[in-house]
Amino acid sequence: MNDFAKDILSSYLSANDINILEKTFVNTVYIIDMPGKYPSMIFSVCLLIASLLLIFLISKTKLPPPIVIWVIYLALINLVSSVVFILMPAMFPYIIENFSELYIKTEVVIWLFIPLLMGIAFSSLPSNIFTKTAVVVLTIIYSMVLGIIRYVAFLYILAKFSYIFMAFLFFAFGPLMDFIYIVGLYSLYVSNYASKIGKDLRIWKWLS
């Protein structure tokens, strides 16, 4: 995973700056370390103004409230981040190594949780255990592939556009997003299962 990420990032950044480090979590995990970028004062102020403007403008639009609330949530995270970098940039507690560690550990926990979560969700469905297991395995594979793609994208953004977007990336596109495709794959399976059993009333005879 890290080798793959390193290969891709090497196309855009200097390969000599990209290192793979070893960390301990559950077992040994490997993370990427590379030089990041602190935002300039002007960039931080621009982001602050852009976030405030976005919050103001979106709250005046007639977009559906769920979208408005979602955008405000994202803009607020960027707002807080820009305030931190304007007032006390030296206090920002992370470099790419820390972020990499946080991201990879979080992803490992998610991969460990997928069988548990989907096991709980599927346990109440009286369907074939092999197909259920296949969906769980498919979800883990999907999670790993998406996890790598996101990892590369996150590191690229942090290296090219500065640490100011670190919180935004983690809280908007981090673990929250993982649960969307987990629920998505679950819903696809359940939907197909419901179609299949819909014609076989014997399964639900106690309902009829």
């Binding site: 979590f25 559906p64 409230p65 769920p66 979208i67 609330i69 979602w70 949530y73 995270i77 807080v80 981040s81 931190v84 920002f92 507690p93 992370y94 820390n98 560690e101 946080l102 550990k105 979080t106 926990v109 998610i110 949780f113 979560l117 709980i120 969700a121 346990s123 109440s124 469905l125 009286p126 919180a167 983690f170 809280f171 981090g174 673990p175 929250l176 993982d178 649960f179 969307i180 495709y181 987990i182 629920v183 998505g184 679950y186 819903s187 696809l188 359940v190 939907s191 197909n192 299962y193 419901a194 179609s195 059993i197 819909g198 639900w204 106690w206 309902l207």
Partner: protein
């Protein structure tokens, strides 16, 4: 600073703990619904002695819906001499009064009651209706409901059980195909009724009387002092009042009635905020009586407490997210890497839409639904929306309690464009 971080971390662990508790609760419900013994309600009882019934329909500016519900109730399959329909016109400014007066003059068992007061609301209208009601059993419908022919009998027959104080039927949106919001609400109702309510009834916990498509004993409610006009969720209040006094509320899953769901997000937001505000006030009032009640088992008390706190959880979640972001900027990520997964797991599980995603999935399977299950992952948008407006309602309720403020009733806007076919 270390103390602040410690407090933030403890709060974070507390939020995750709350999420896990509610996830387990919903898992118990789902498992019971799929594998447990199912309690059927009383609809299959054939009784020659039907109790007298008063149907109460509070209406405020219901010109779009009034005719259809009255037409359906006129056709109700219940002995006419034992059925009265009382329509309470609660300070309407449209043509509602004219419509119900027309029906009252045409049908002898329809009575119109008019209230002319700025101080209006469903509990006040119900109290007014109870003043004139003569039936042993009172059945309530909101004006946007479409009661099927046999529903009054199905509700009334349950009162043959002398322990039953109130009965609740199942609510199904009639306009679920209108847009994304109505589809979401359809899923929410599925999880809430098909799984949640039925499982609580199976497990002899606290099924909730929902204020419409349900009924109660008239004399019982009168003896308990009618409805509190300043509680915005008179249904939840009644549920807990009955359980605390040793009465039972039962859920009848097969007693189905169609309703019109909000079709606009802002209307839904107001509805959620009102429910949250009312429910939270009920929590403040009934948590202690519930815990010390001698009529309830430990299981009932536990379920009742979790039910009372259900509108507090989004506020806890909201503060949990703020707590989480603060910890991130303080550089305390060591707690985040594992616990944040649990937090988001809990968020998705518990408050995707008041119920876990697998609860909605199972509810839909039981309903024989197929394609609608596929919008489950999009509930993420509903989830932030719910958290925000429920938290606003929670804060409203806290202010109400602290300042003795009296809330004003807000009517849910109707979207009826014609007559729904049955």
């Amino acid at each position: 600073m270390e103390m602040v971080v410690l407090i933030l971390k403890i709060y974070f662990v507390f939020v995750v703990f709350v999420m896990i508790v509610y996830t387990i609760r919903h898992y118990v419900f789902v498992s019971n619904r799929m594998f447990g013994e199912q309690r059927i309600c009383y609809q299959d009882i054939i009784d020659s002695e039907s109790p007298s019934v008063s149907v109460l329909i509070p209406m405020h500016n219901e010109e779009k819906t009034a005719s259809q519900i009255l037409d359906l109730l006129v056709e109700a399959d219940y002995p006419k001499e034992k059925l009265e329909i009382i329509v309470v016109n609660d300070n309407s400014t449209d043509t509602t009064a004219t419509i119900i007066d027309e029906y009252a003059s045409k049908y002898p068992n329809i009575k119109s009651v008019h209230r002319k007061s700025e101080d209006r609301g469903k509990p006040i209208a119900l109290n007014k209706g109870l003043e004139v009601a003569k039936g042993e059993i009172v059945v309530i419908f909101d004006a946007d409901y479409l009661p099927p022919k046999g529903i009054i009998r199905d509700i009334a027959v349950s009162f043959n059980d002398p322990e039953v104080g109130a009965v609740m039927g199942r609510v199904i949106p009639v306009n679920s195909e209108t847009n994304l919001l109505t589809r979401y609400l359809d899923l929410e109702r599925t999880g809430g009724y098909q799984v949640d309510q039925q499982a609580r009834y199976n497990l002899r916990l606290i099924p909730q009387y929902g204020g419409t498509v349900g009924g109660f004993r008239r004399e019982l409610i009168r003896s308990l002092g009618n409805f509190d006009p300043y509680i915005l969720t008179e249904d939840t209040e009644l549920t807990f009042r009955l359980f605390v006094k040793g009465w039972k509320v039962i859920y009848a899953n097969r007693v189905e009635c169609y309703e019109e769901s909000p079709e606009v997000w802002r209307v839904r937001a107001r509805q959620l905020r009102r429910w949250s505000r009312g429910h939270t006030r009920v929590m403040f009032r009934y948590l202690m009586p519930l815990i010390i009640s001698k009529h309830l088992s430990f299981r009932e008390k536990l379920d009742g407490s979790l039910l009372l706190f259900v509108y507090t959880v989004p506020f806890i979640l909201l503060t949990g997210i703020i707590d989480c972001v603060t910890l991130f900027f303080l550089g305390k990520m060591e707690i985040l890497s594992t616990m944040i997964v649990l937090l988001f797991l809990g968020l998705h599980n518990t408050f995707g839409n008041f119920s876990t995603f697998f609860q909605i999935g199972i509810g839909s399977v039981l309903d024989g639904a197929t394609y609608r299950i596929r919008i489950l992952p999009f509930l993420i948008f509903n989830f932030f929306f719910n958290i925000w407006y429920i938290s606003c309602g929670f804060i409203d309720a806290v202010i109400d309690v602290l300042t003795s403020r009296k809330p004003r009733w807000q009517k849910t806007k109707r979207f009826r464009k014609g007559v729904y076919s049955q």
